[in-house]
Point group: C2
Chain length 401, copies 2
């Protein structure tokens, strides 16, 4: 193929933010803090296999036919109830719930509905790399707001909105931030909704980890404080059930969802009925809450191992966020250290450990002294061993600068 010819017809290639995100390592004793995936040993595989079989048996051949862009109303009713029970969102019906192809499609359709080239979007710094990969497609202008221990810096957010009132969208991961590990405080949740009302902002509240809390008290969702239909609450089954279901769900005002359905029809026509019915059967015949409790029990041990190891092994001057749930902690090192270089030159070949370096999580890739560490994909022993190696590595690195 004549690529030059084709290139004149295809839009300028945006470099993939996801390609090469995870370093390949060929050391048998390597310990990877890179995972973004749930621990598959905890999947309810037998129950889900049964749910698929039940779904096919219940509907027969019709299971496999075209259905609708909305998916089964029974599943959306269950999720509406869950939104009220677990997310503290009021007055949710099946018409307020939309099924998406993973949380990723929820992000993508909201971005598609809102963002034209150059439109303003606020993202946390750092933020979820997959969201950036979707936003990139619509060529927005990014405004970054610093992530702190109690969530995004709302003073910075306010100053940004005051200076750029044309900004349309705020994307935030309020619970157990990916990659930051922090959770937005109650006061900041209220504040972002106030700012949204004042500055005519839409908030996309992305909550894949929300129910994976291992210590402390659950906070109401941002959507809970929404009085003007400005918040789109997005959840997913990927982390609490299984990723291959590729099923996310969002809660929003009906008028918003009507718009998003049009975009979903154009993107992939409809919800796969077999998958949606399998989830529906799983939820009818199993307790999702009990399954999540099992996950949380195991993940809690791993999180504690990570918190202990951070305290034990990280040298002075290196800070780590202290998560209460989710998958990640975020480590900040001396600003003279480039964690990308460190990964490939030292961490991988010498210490046989890997992490995801910070620059991947910033809209403009200009923060190079952080790293994301996953703790749910490793045993406590692996965490201890790996963090000891990271401590050695960072102690050496701090001495060199």
């Amino acid at each position: 193929m004549d690529n030059k010819l084709f290139a004149t017809r295809v839009q300028p290639a945006v470099p993939s933010r996801l390609a090469g995100l995870f370093p390949v390592m060929n050391y048998p004793d390597a310990i990877k803090f890179t995972a973004g995936a749930p621990a598959e040993s905890l999947f309810p595989a037998d129950a889900m296999a049964q749910a698929y079989a039940d779904a096919m048996a219940a509907e027969g051949n019709h299971t496999f036919q075209y259905h609708t862009v909305q998916g089964p109303v029974e599943l959306r009713e269950r999720l509406a109830q869950r939104a009220m029970d677990k997310m503290q969102i009021d007055h949710v019906t099946a018409d307020n719930v939309m099924l998406t192809a993973g949380g990723q499609q929820g992000i993508d359709l909201v971005a598609k509905a809102l963002l034209n080239k150059g439109d303003g979007i606020v993202v946390e710094a750092p933020t979820y790399v997959g969201a950036l990969s979707s936003f990139d497609t619509y060529e927005p202008t990014y405004y970054e707001v610093e992530l702190e221990d109690d969530g995004l810096n709302t003073d910075q957010l306010e100053a940004t909105l005051k200076q750029h009132p044309e900004i349309k969208l705020l994307y935030t991961v309020a619970d157990f931030h990916n990659p930051g590990g922090v959770t937005m405080s109650l006061a900041e949740r209220q504040k972002v909704v106030e700012l949204a009302n004042q500055y005519n902002l839409i908030i996309l509240e992305d909550t894949p980890y929300r129910e994976l809390r291992y210590t402390g008290q659950s906070l109401p969702s941002i959507k809970h404080f929404d009085t003007e239909g400005r918040v789109i609450f997005l959840s997913s089954f990927s982390k609490i059930l299984m990723p291959t279901l590729r099923t996310g769900w969002l809660v929003a005002d009906k008028a918003v969802i009507q718009q998003l359905y049009k975009l979903k029809e154009a993107a992939d026509l409809e919800v796969p009925n077999i998958t949606a019915q399998a989830i529906n059967h799983y939820l009818a015949d199993n307790s999702l809450d009990e399954h999540i409790a099992r996950l949380n029990k195991e993940y809690k041990v791993r999180m504690q191992a990570m918190i202990d190891a951070c305290r034990k092994y990280l040298p002075a001057g290196v800070s780590a966020t202290k998560p209460e749930g989710g998958f990640f902690t975020w480590v900040t090192v001396n600003s003279a250290i480039n964690t990308t270089d460190l990964l490939y030159n030292e961490a991988t070949p010498n210490q046989h450990i890997a992490y995801v370096p910070s620059k991947n999580f910033y809209a403009y890739k200009d923060h190079t002294n952080g790293m994301r560490l996953n703790f749910t994909g490793l045993t406590p022993t692996e965490i201890d061993t790996g963090m000891k190696r990271l401590g050695t590595l960072l102690t050496q690195a701090e001495q060199i600068i």
Copy 2:
């Protein structure tokens, strides 16, 4: 929710082309020629249920984990072989095959890669409504080229490209056109590739019905004649297996596919492994060719019933295309007759039949004297009865004008 507020942040709503496409009828004896769905009585439901179970058994918990944007290489290898065997495309490897969420996502990602606001795209008149619904999202300028009995009018295409050399994309359904029912001739296939080379055009060849040929000889795909990597060949399992698999596949040059993977990652992250592995197991343990032969045997009888009924019942001055496969025939009536009005005022309430009126299939909705008739979703007796009613209706309508 304050919709006016929200509206200032969301892009202007594009009316859905798909909403309300199929009229709702409450007559027990109603006959619907509206279907776009395959006959579900012919689905290999037991074999597919087994394939799902086998897929889960083979990989265990790992079945349900995150996998890759590409999906299983075994499935892509099978499809590469099929592209060479059945589509007469040369030198296809797994790297030239991309799995998509139904054919619809293939259309959408290609459009997303190519079309910015105002960019030129050629579509047939009429064309597939779902493709228009995706293209609409990117706000292109449409150029319509008339569909004839041997495919699109290549003289018109050439004149259009000469006048608008900035046009980027041609979308065509060359085999058993939806909604037109016609098939592009060999000469025209060669001609569109020549024009693409001359005018730096990309061709999206959408072929969901290609293997559903009931009479006559199969023609090489347009992609067969491609020497410059300009043709993207798109197929789907929806019509030859089952729609709920939501699995399409395209064949293109590797560099094109690399671009499309980036957009797929941004849109929905990856191929659902469980579905892809189920299809893979189905194809390993069953003969898809034999299944398609069964479909074609049954559909052939229905197509012949439709052709016979057109000859028998349609009044002089009304023309119907004569398909050799696929799902549809296209009927053209006197230009003074508006088939949308006729549907709602006469066909549905008085004759208890329904069809999809022509205006839905034109980019600018300005052709109102045609209708799409499906023949695969009805028995020969239903086709005969329904077409007799349509004949009565059209005879009356022609007398009034």
